[in-house]
C-alpha cells in the first residue's frame, strides 16, 4: 500500500514537535536558565502555534529560490552599470545610511535569534527562532553584497562595520539592538519580533523600498523585498509570541504591556531616520513619511491593537505623541543632520524649490509654519558661500542617543527636554517616552555609551575633533562628509552624465 501523503499540519508536527525530547538526567532549569527571571509564566509550551507551519525542508527550498532570483538581479544591475541609472546621486546617500545603520542590525538580529532560540524550552518557538536567525544572516549578506557595487562608485560605504561601532549617529541603531539583546529572551521577542517587526518595520521595508524602485535602484528594491518576504513570516512570529504569552497566564499581561510601551517608543525614535530618508533623500517621491505612518502604523497598527484588546492590551503608551510627531519628525531629523554633515559619512543638502513645494503640500500643518523659512535661510547662506555647519557637539538623549533636537508637540518652537537624577548624577532625555524607559531601569541605562560624552572624556582619540572624525571614525574627510554640492560623488555623477550626452551628440552627428 502506498503511503498517504501527509498534510501540512502533520508534516509540521512531525518535523518540529517530534524533534523534541524529554530531559532525563539534567534539570530543565539548568538547561534553560533564562526562562523564568523576567517573571513570564509559561504553563504549556505545546499551545505554541506557528501559523505558517513551515518545515525546514520547505524553508531551504523557498529560500534557495529567493536567492536565485535575487542574485540574477544583482548580476544584471552590476553588468548594466545600474549605478548610473538611479534618479540622482543624492539618492545614494540614503543607501549609505542603510548600510551603516540598518544592515549591521540584521547581523545583531541573527545573533539575537540564535541566542533566544537556544533559550526557549518549547520546540515550536525554537524552530521559528532558528529560521529567523538564518533569515537575518541572509539579509546582512545580501545587503552587503548589493551595496558593495555602490562602494565601487560612491564614497562613504567603505568602512561600515567599523563606523557602526563608533560613529555618533550610528550609536542610535546600535544601542537599540544592544538594549534588546541584553534583555531577557521574552523581552527580546516582544521588542524585536512584535514591536519592531510587526508594528514598525513595514515602514522601512515597504514604502521606502517601493521608493527605491521608483528611483531606479533595482538592487536595493530587490534585496529589500526579498528580505521583506521573510519579514512576513517574522511578523507572524511576532504576533504569535504576543498571543501565546497573553494566553499562557494573566500575570504576563502587565509585563508584556510595559515591554510594548517601551519598544514601541524605542522603535519610533529609531525610525526617525527612515522618516528623513523618505521625505528628503528620495528624489522621486512615492508617499510622504506622514502618509506611510498613517497607512502602516495608524491603520495597520490600529487594527492590530483592536484585535489584542480582548487580552487587555492597549495601544502603546506614547502612541498619541508619536502620531503628533508625524508632522515634524522628518524635518527635525533632516535639520539635525544638515547641522552636523561635516561629522557624518554621508551628504546632506537643502531641498530645491520644487522639493520644498512638495513638502509644503504634504505637510500643510507644519512645513511652511516651522521649517520652510529656516531651510530657505540655510539655502541663502549656502549661495553666499557660507554653508551652515554647527561647530558645537550636541547634547544626546541618554536613552535613544539622538541629539536633543526634537520639540514639544504642543509647541513645536520649544525643544523638548526631560531630566532624571539617579545617584546624584543628572541624565537628559528627549521625551517622556525615553525618560520613562530610563526611570524603570536606571542601572541599565546609566551604562549608555554616549558618543559625545566619550569624545569629551578623551576616549575617541583625543581632543582634536578632526582626528576623532578621520582616525577614530575613519571618515574620509572632504569625501564622505560635507554637503552634497561640491562633493566628489556629485562630480563623478555629473561626469558620467555629461559623457552620456556627449555620446548622444556624436550619434546624432553620425
Amino acid at each position: 500500500m502506498a503511503a498517504r501523503k501527509l498534510n501540512l499540519k502533520e508534516r509540521y508536527s512531525l518535523l518540529t514537535r517530534d524533534l523534541d525530547w524529554e530531559y532525563s538526567y539534567r534539570d530543565k532549569k539548568e538547561i534553560f536558565p533564562y526562562e523564568e527571571f523576567e517573571g513570564i509564566k509559561i504553563t504549556d509550551w505545546s499551545k505554541w502555534e506557528d501559523p505558517f507551519r513551515l518545515t525546514m525542508d520547505a524553508y531551504w527550498k523557498y529560500q534557495a529560490e529567493k536567492e536565485k532570483k535575487l542574485y540574477a538581479i544583482f548580476d544584471a544591475f552590476a553588468q548594466n552599470n545600474g549605478q548610473q541609472n538611479v534618479t540622482d546621486a543624492r539618492y545614494i546617500n540614503a543607501i549609505k545610511v542603510f548600510l551603516t545603520g540598518v544592515s549591521p542590525l540584521e547581523y545583531q538580529a541573527y545573533s539575537g535569534y540564535a541566542h533566544v532560540g537556544r533559550q526557549f524550552s518549547g520546540v515550536g518557538a525554537r524552530t521559528a527562532c532558528q529560521m529567523q536567525s538564518i533569515d537575518e544572516l541572509r539579509h546582512v549578506q545580501t545587503q552587503v553584497h548589493a551595496m558593495s557595487h555602490y562602494n565601487k562608485f560612491f564614497d562613504g560605504f567603505q568602512d561600515f562595520p567599523h563606523m557602526h561601532d563608533r560613529v555618533w549617529y550610528l550609536s542610535v541603531p546600535k544601542s537599540f539592538f544592544d538594549d534588546a539583546r541584553s534583555a531577557g529572551p521574552f523581552e527580546f521577542m516582544v521588542a524585536i519580533s512584535f514591536s519592531f517587526e510587526y508594528v514598525l518595520t513595514n515602514l522601512l521595508f515597504v514604502p521606502f523600498m517601493s521608493g527605491a524602485a521608483y528611483n531606479g535602484d533595482m538592487a536595493t528594491v530587490t534585496f529589500g523585498f526579498s528580505a521583506q518576504s521573510d519579514e512576513a513570516r517574522h511578523m507572524t512570529l511576532g504576533l504569535e509570541v504576543i498571543k501565546f504569552l497573553l494566553e499562557q497566564h494573566p500575570d504576563n499581561v502587565p509585563i508584556v504591556q510595559r515591554w510594548i510601551d517601551k519598544w514601541f517608543w524605542r522603535g519610533t525614535r529609531l525610525l526617525a531616520i527612515v522618516a528623513m530618508m523618505m521625505d528628503y533623500m528620495l528624489p522621486n517621491r512615492v508617499m510622504s513619511w506622514k502618509e506611510a505612518w498613517e497607512v502602516y502604523f495608524e491603520e495597520a497598527g490600529g487594527a492590530l491593537f483592536k484585535d489584542l484588546a480582548r487580552y487587555g492590551i492597549e495601544m502603546p503608551k506614547y502612541a498619541a505623541t508619536a502620531i503628533a510627531e508625524k508632522e515634524h519628525i522628518s524635518h527635525q531629523v533632516w535639520s539635525i543632520f544638515y547641522n552636523y554633515t561635516h561629522a557624518a559619512a554621508f551628504h546632506t543638502w537643502m531641498p530645491d524649490e520644487k522639493e520644498m513645494d512638495w513638502l509644503s503640500e504634504k505637510y500643510p500643518n507644519s512645513f511652511d509654519k516651522h521649517y520652510r523659512k529656516r531651510f530657505e535661510h540655510w539655502r541663502e547662506m549656502e549661495r553666499a558661500g557660507e554653508r551652515f555647519y554647527n561647530p558645537t557637539l550636541p547634547m544626546l538623549c541618554n536613552t535613544c542617543q539622538i541629539p536633543m533636537g526634537f520639540t514639544e508637540m504642543d509647541d513645536p518652537t520649544l525643544t523638548a527636554y526631560r531630566q532624571s537624577v539617579h545617584k546624584g548624577e543628572r541624565y537628559n532625555f528627549c521625551s517622556d517616552g525615553c525618560k520613562d524607559i530610563f526611570d524603570h531601569e536606571p542601572e541599565k541605562y546609566v551604562q549608555s555609551w554616549l558618543p559625545v560624552h566619550q569624545i569629551y572624556q578623551g576616549n575617541c582619540g583625543g581632543a582634536d575633533i578632526e582626528k576623532v572624525l578621520s582616525e577614530y571614525y575613519r571618515i574620509n574627510m572632504g569625501k564622505d562628509n560635507m554637503d552634497f554640492h561640491g562633493s566628489p560623488d556629485e562630480a563623478r555623477w555629473n561626469e558620467w552624465h555629461n559623457l552620456q550626452s556627449a555620446e548622444e551628440r556624436l550619434k546624432k552627428a553620425g
Binding site: 529567493k66 521608483y214 483592536k306
Partner: protein, 88 residues
C-alpha cells in the same frame, strides 16, 4: 471591522495570485504601487490554491507564496489549500 492586507511583488507570478484573490474576494481593493501590489479587504482575505492553479494552468504549491510575498497584516491561517488573513 478592520482591514487585513497583503502586498506582493509586482511580477508575472504575482499577477496570477492577484487574479485569484480578486475572484475569491470580490470586495477586495487592489492598489498598484511602484514594484508592488497591495490587496486589502475588510476583516478577511483568502488565497485559494485551486483558484491560483486554474489561473496558472499548472500545479502550484501554496507555500511558494513566500517567494513573492512582501508583507501582510492580520492573523494568518495556512493549510495545504488556503492561506487566510483575518482580524477577530
Amino acid at each position: 471591522m478592520s482591514k487585513v492586507y497583503m502586498a506582493l511583488q509586482d511580477n508575472e507570478e504575482a499577477h496570477y495570485l492577484v487574479e485569484a484573490l480578486e475572484e475569491d474576494n470580490p470586495d477586495a481593493t487592489v492598489d498598484y504601487q511602484p514594484a508592488m501590489i497591495r490587496i486589502e479587504n475588510e476583516g478577511h482575505l483568502v488565497l485559494k490554491r485551486e483558484t491560483v492553479e486554474e489561473k496558472m494552468g499548472r500545479d502550484w504549491d501554496l507555500q511558494s507564496l513566500h517567494v513573492n510575498l512582501v508583507t501582510i497584516g492580520g492573523n494568518v491561517d495556512e493549510t495545504d489549500d488556503e492561506f487566510t488573513l483575518s482580524w477577530n
